[in-house]
């Protein structure tokens, strides 16, 4: 009977028995019917019913009402039915959390099944049931499965941890699943390793700072072994994980590259691109003169070219990445220009990307070919593409100077076609060519003017007006041309209005006699009849300029314009470096750092390329160690002189001496601005609170109370002090570090006591602080800020007090300092005003740093230069001091001073008196020259200091004294 029914049904819906029959029951009673079928005794009928339910679900119908009935079918030994029920469960468990608990028992049972397929299926499915209540029941079965004897179950369980983490991260951590997952990286089965890596990577993405994937040479080796044996997808996960590793040296880097290179021949393009990422990153560490480096470069080109013969979607992603690669290493693809030639039936998104890369690769060698292609493209059908092609011709002209003439003539040819949008694009780019090569191609202006009437796009109109204004003296009827634009002034876009205003003012300044009326007209249009504030402002400025001082106006308006740079759309180098580390990811498609757009990745660690080791050449990527979001100083130390600041003036002077290698690079305005704001704010705070701070600071500094009897201070601190002291006596190479003094007594800071000192270690200035909580309550939220000071000292990072400071606790912190902060002359020169904040209040103190902290490592002057400089500095700038009671001989003194970056350049002995000539360079570039006279048997030294900024002499002398006597 059943059989007959089915036959009937089949006939009814066509002879083929297909799933489409499931869609035919869309009547109202559908759910009701299904319910009945699900509860049928017949297995076959049940299964058919579940299939119908699934079919409805796949097309997006809501069949959640059948939840209990479907779950009832779960207890079955029919695997197909079980799988179907699981499918349903995964989709709807979330909407029926109470019901979902019914399924738990089956899962637990299935996880013990003899068949590994069933065990794996259970652990896989239960992770997909995103119901909080259930998750805790799943921990035990999951733990078992993670240690299952069958690798198939283990690899499924690894993914389940990631699922669970997504639902309840805390639970996963508490249950120790993350550690088990980490252990799986050493699993014997490569598929398990790959899945563990994938799961950990996904978890790590939501915990950017957790050190989940702890990569070390051993684990890297395991990954590289698994890489050869796991599936293509596993290879992607492993390669992406490898890319996060930083090899210890160039040899390790090379050996990883060698083992990754075979992946470039994989059929899966994602594997290829991930391998390219690893190679591009690790290559950075290889010395360029290494043979292998060249080999590697050659190996990278073919796979990238092959990616371009794949499906268009793959091509698109590949092209976006190639765009980054050619900016970083143009040599890889410089001979492959032709593969980027656009094909007629490429999708538009591929065409536009190819065009971009063609321009990047354009060089003198291939420009003829490129131009021929671009000209061809300019006659295509697609308007967007044609426009970009025309623009590309202009970019070629700007990039390859030798081709400029040919580009201009190509553009003129295109203008002759009279195709409206081609003409407009051409005019826009010709304007840029004029700016790059002034006074070279102005002969074409006549041709441009012929097309004046056809321009209807603001950008093209604005460009044309700019040209007319700029070359008004060569265009006879410039006034007529501009006047014609003026008629519809108020209908023009702002861009055109502004350009028109400027152009007419230019015209007026060039031909004042004939155009007075015109300029008055445009000024009144701009200032009186317009409600656009930009336009009005510009109008008024011109008006005032013209009426008060026409000569000045001429100087301002007709000033020589800076040339435009070659390539305007290059990605900024630090961003490029970061993106290279993200090749193959969404970030690389969007050319934005992942932190800029991936949701939920707060505080993503910025990736950087590793620095090259070994070979002495300069690294391309200065290793600055920027922390996420931190505005660590990038520029070399330099000083922005503030007006009327004596020190500033002196510093300016100091840029001149023949010894300096070049002017210090200017700081970026932005950064300084930001710092200044902070400094300013603090300054006023300080001013209000402690008016006489220098004096006070001096008071503190003058009473060098040795570190208070901080019995509970960590032993390390005391030891460190001992060593420091020892360093002064026994180890002459050590830099001088003054003993710690109390800077802020507890009674003045509501229980917080701060003592500290300054040190220069490995070229970094450190402020070493001991914070002691002498109050009864816990202190948290420490932060530190400096007032502007003579040498621009500023904290290079936040104050690292991570744990709360309990009562009677002490913490030692060392704060790295930079010298690019805002500058203000202090008195005494080495005075530093500091504000420390905690959860209780803000406290201020000042302290003095030994100026020797600022003596830089490269302060050794050439003898010749020394001599010349010595003579060059006027004698008025010389100061002489006596150092008493010093019992070192001249050699010992010299080596001791060298420890603090005071370099002896020459030694001369005259009548038993040693004359030591020394040089010192301060972090802001000031040089101090010294002559130290040591007479055998006489404990008193004489020192003469010469410096273009004599103020520092006193401080330098103090340093000499301190260094020599400690």
């Amino acid at each position: 009977m059943e059989w007959a029914n089915q036959l009937c049904e089949n006939r009814q819906f066509g002879s083929k028995m297909t799933d489409s029959k499931y869609f035919t029951t869309t009547k109202k009673g559908e759910i009701f019917e299904l319910k009945a079928e699900l509860n049928s005794d017949k297995k076959e009928k049940k299964k058919e019913a579940v299939k119908k339910v699934i079919a409805s679900m796949t097309v997006g119908k809501d069949v959640s009402a059948l939840f209990p009935d479907v779950v009832n079918c779960m207890q079955t030994d029919n695997l197909e039915l079980k799988k179907l029920v699981y499918l349903y469960l995964m989709n709807y468990a979330k909407s029926q959390p109470d019901m979902a608990i019914m399924a738990v028992n089956t899962f637990v049972k299935d996880c013990e099944d003899a068949n590994p397929l069933i065990r794996a299926l259970a652990v896989r499915t239960m992770g997909c049931i995103r119901v909080d209540k259930i998750t805790e029941y799943l921990c035990e079965p999951l733990r078992k499965c993670l240690k299952d004897e069958d690798p198939y179950v283990r690899k499924t369980a690894a993914v389940c941890v990631a699922k669970l983490h997504d639902i309840n991260a805390q639970l996963v951590e508490d249950q120790g699943f993350l550690d088990t997952l980490k252990d799986l990286i050493s699993d014997s089965n490569p598929m398990v390793v790959a899945n563990a890596v994938a799961a950990l990577s996904e978890i790590a993405e939501s915990h950017p700072n957790s050190n989940l994937l702890d990569l070390n040479p051993q684990s890297i080796n395991k990954l590289l072994t698994a890489l050869n044996e796991c599936t293509e997808w596993g290879q992607i996960f492993i390669l992406d994980c490898l890319a996060n590793y930083t090899p210890r040296d160039d040899r390790e880097s090379q050996s990883i590259c060698e083992r990754v290179t075979p992946r470039l021949s994989h059929a899966n393009s994602a594997v290829v691109l991930s391998a390219v990422k690893v190679l591009m990153k690790f290559m950075e560490m290889l010395p360029k003169d290494l043979d292998y480096y060249g080999t590697l470069l050659k190996k990278l080109a073919p796979p990238l070219v092959t990616l371009l013969s794949a499906e268009p979607e793959l091509q698109y992603v590949a092209l976006r990445n190639i765009n980054l690669i050619v900016q970083k290493r143009p040599e890889i693809l410089k001979h492959e220009m032709k593969v980027f030639f656009v094909k007629y039936n490429d999708p538009i998104y591929v065409k536009l990307e190819k065009l971009d890369i063609m321009i990047r690769l354009a060089s003198q060698a291939n420009i003829a070919q490129v131009l021929a292609e671009l000209k061809e493209y300019a006659t295509e059908v697609d308007v967007d593409f044609v426009r970009k092609a025309v623009r590309a011709i202009g970019r070629c002209a700007i990039k390859v100077e030798q081709s400029a003439e040919r580009c201009v003539s190509t553009l003129l040819d295109l203008i002759q076609t009279k195709v409206n949008y081609v003409v407009q694009e051409a005019i826009v780019v010709i304007k840029d060519i004029f700016r790059k090569y002034p006074n070279k191609y102005e002969s074409v202006i006549a041709t441009l003017c012929e097309n004046l009437d056809s321009l209807d796009e603001p950008e093209a109109r604005a460009a044309m007006i700019w040209i007319v204004g700029e070359y008004a003296e060569r265009i006879d009827n410039a006034d007529e041309l501009l006047e014609s634009f003026l008629e519809g002034f108020h209908d023009e876009s702002t861009q055109v209005q502004l350009q028109l205003l400027t152009a007419i003012v230019k015209l007026f300044l060039k031909k004042p006699t004939e155009t007075q009326e015109l300029v008055q007209q445009v000024l009144s249009l701009a200032t009186q009849d317009s409600d656009n504030p930009d336009l009005r402002d510009r109008g008024y400025i011109y008006w005032r300029l013209l009426s008060t001082d026409p000569v000045a106006a001429k100087e301002v308006v007709l000033a020589e314009k800076p040339l435009i740079s070659e390539e305007t759309d290059l990605i900024e180098p630090t961003l490029l470096e970061e993106l290279i580390c993200h090749i193959g990811t969404l970030a690389s498609v969007y050319h934005k750092p992942p932190s800029a757009f991936v949701e939920g990745s707060r505080g993503v660690m910025h990736k950087r390329l590793p620095a090259r080791t070994g070979s002495g050449e300069s690294t391309e990527s200065p290793d600055v160690g920027t922390a996420a979001g931190g505005s660590a100083p990038e520029a070399a130390p330099s000083i922005i002189p503030s007006q009327g600041d004596l020190l500033g003036d002196l510093l300016n002077l100091d840029m001149a001496p023949p010894t300096t290698t070049g002017p210090p690079p200017p700081n970026t305005g932005m950064q300084m601005g930001g710092m200044d704001l902070l400094g300013g704010g603090l300054d006023s705070l300080l001013g209000g609170d402690i008016g006489g701070s220098p004096a006070m600071g001096a008071g503190f500094g003058a009473a060098p109370a040795v570190m208070p009897a901080s019995l509970n201070a960590p032993v390390g601190g005391g030891l460190g002090d001992l060593f420091d002291l020892g360093g002064g006596v026994g180890m002459p190479m050590g830099a001088y570090i003054p003993p710690k003094t109390v800077w802020l007594p507890a009674m003045k800071a509501k229980g917080l006591e701060i003592s500290g000192t300054f040190a220069r270690r490995a070229g970094v200035i450190q402020m070493e602080l001991i914070l002691t909580n002498k109050a009864m309550s816990v202190m948290t939220d420490f932060a530190i800020q400096f007032n502007r000071n003579s040498f621009g000292l500023a904290p290079a990072g936040p104050l690292q007090v991570l744990t709360p400071l309990g009562p009677n606790q002490t913490i030692e912190v060392s704060l790295p300092l930079s010298t690019v902060g805002p500058v203000m002359k202090m008195d005494p020169l080495n005075n530093l005003q500091v504000a420390v904040k905690n959860n209780i209040d803000v406290f201020y103190f000042s302290c003095q740093y030994p100026i020797s902290m600022l003596f830089v490592e490269d302060g050794k002057m050439e003898r010749q230069v020394f001599l010349a400089t010595w003579k060059d500095i006027p004698n008025d700038n010389e100061s002489q001091f006596q150092i008493k009671d010093c019992h070192l001989n001249s050699d010992a003194a010299s080596s001791k001073l060298q420890g603090s970056n005071i370099f002896t350049i020459a030694k001369r002995t005259v009548e038993g008196q040693d004359m030591l000539y020394m040089s010192i360079k301060l972090s802001n570039g000031i040089w101090v020259l010294a002559e130290l006279r040591v007479q055998a048997g006489n404990p008193n030294y004489t020192i003469s200091l010469k410096c273009r900024a004599p103020e520092v002499s006193q401080c330098v002398f103090q340093c000499y004294e301190a260094v020599l006597k400690n």
């Binding site: 097309v59 997808w233 021929a372 969404l586």
Partner: protein
């Protein structure tokens, strides 16, 4: 990883959705549909779209959109590769990839998708592993299943799933053991107006149909392997042997697969088998124009060029064409402005020619763009790069298999500018 998948037909209807994590409302597809509206052709929809909360990565294949929803940073190529695998899997199981076939086999497709990804991580994408878990439909099986109540779902762990050769299952048995290889080369070329090659390269594929019992270990060697510029292999190929000896050594998957793809782009090596003499001109007056195209053999290595077809995208303003072909026949579709001239076999004695007049819509100006010609062709028994298989050896099994190699050259993106 991959969050959800939507299958969408060209008119924008979503006919299948699958979620591997939580359910994402299908309204997310609106962003995609919007982009699709903007694009002129379905092919032009950008493959990566950024929405406020998700990324949509899509492919257009077999007139269907495969759209995946991504929530975290994921390698887009990984997603695109996977989507192509889904399309291939449907093709493999049901013989074609179309909306009808998917709808007819909705539940099986859904089960397959479930096997392919777990939590967005690929689980089983190898066809032979999948086929052991979910058996492909055959008429015989569906009859047997209905009669006996057995199912299409395998209940043992697929053997290939964990071995280091996941592409091959154990216990394969054939009465006739055979291994056939197809060397297919496609010429991608751009010729300029004068017939000079602007750009040319060869994309080669070595496809295989291997039906051998047991665990055969094959070695395939070429006469001239150094010809190949860049190669990508099926995972079964041992890369080290290729690096050191330039031979392909592998344990093959069972059935049809792509053994290797390669690339020849040294321009002097790329022979262009035909030349095209053409002139398409329009009268200055703008009333119409003339078209004259002749195709002739060039570097054919003595073989016959067959299946020659010329496709011309005429400008939008063309109203009608009036042409005569000396060989073959032409069709013109006024809706797509596509002129297709099907020539067939190329006769070197009597060159085929198509000429006649084109008329423009009344009042339309002289077209601005130059139409471009796309050429299709086929040459049997020739790999145009000159690549030749030297020999195929089998180790590991005792029987003697039938072996065969076929060569064929086709035009890929072969374009002539006017």
């Amino acid at each position: 990883m991959i969050h959800s998948l939507f299958l969408i037909n060209p008119s924008g209807d979503i006919f299948l959705e699958k979620h591997w994590k939580s359910v994402v409302s299908r309204s997310v597809c609106d962003y995609f549909l919007e982009a699709k509206e903007k694009a002129l052709e379905p092919e032009d929809v950008p493959p990566v779209i950024h929405t406020p909360r998700h990324y949509l990565i899509s492919i257009y294949r077999d007139k269907l959109f495969f759209l995946s929803v991504i929530q975290t940073e994921v390698p887009p190529l990984f997603v695109i590769e996977f989507l192509h695998r889904v399309a291939e899997m449907i093709q493999d199981y049901f013989g074609e990839c179309s909306e009808t076939v998917v709808k007819d086999n909705m539940v099986m497709v859904y089960e397959l998708l479930e096997e392919m990804l777990d939590n967005g991580f690929p689980l089983a994408t190898e066809s032979n592993v999948l086929k052991e878990m979910i058996r492909p439909p055959t008429i015989l099986r569906s009859v047997v299943n209905t009669l006996t109540g057995t199912s299409n779902i395998g209940d043992t762990l697929p053997t290939g799933q964990l071995s280091t050769i996941p592409w091959r299952r154990a216990g394969v048995k054939y009465t006739n053991n055979e291994a056939y290889f197809d060397v297919v080369e496609e010429i991608d070329a751009i010729l300029d107006q004068s017939g000079t090659t602007v750009f040319a390269e060869i994309q080669g594929v070595v496809g295989a149909c291997v039906k051998l019992s047991g665990m055969p270990d094959l070695t395939l060697s070429f006469m001239n392997p150094r010809l190949l510029d860049d190669v990508s292999f099926h995972p079964c190929v041992r890369y080290k042997r290729w690096e050191s000896e330039r031979v392909l050594s592998f344990i093959p998957p069972d059935g049809n697969f792509t053994l290797m793809t390669y690339h020849v782009n040294a321009q002097n090596l790329v022979a262009i088998p035909v030349y095209v003499k053409q002139s398409i001109s329009f009268f200055e007056s703008g009333s119409g124009g003339r078209l004259d195209v002749t195709v002739g053999p060039k570097q054919t290595m003595g073989k016959t060029v067959e299946g020659v077809m010329v496709t011309v995208h005429l400008p939008k303003t063309i109203l009608s064409v009036n042409l005569t072909a000396t060989q073959g026949s032409y069709t013109y579709d006024n809706g797509t402005k596509l002129l297709v001239w099907d020539i067939g076999k190329l006769n070197p004695q009597k060159l085929p020619n198509l000429r006649g007049s084109l008329s423009l819509q009344a009042g339309a100006p002289k077209p601005e763009e130059n139409p471009s010609l796309n050429i299709d062709l086929k040459i049997q028994q020739l790999a145009i790069s000159g690549l030749k298989v030297n020999r195929l050896d089998m180790f590991g099994e005792k029987y003697k298999p039938f072996k065969g190699v076929k060569y064929i050259t086709k035009a890929g993106k072969f374009q002539v500018r006017t």
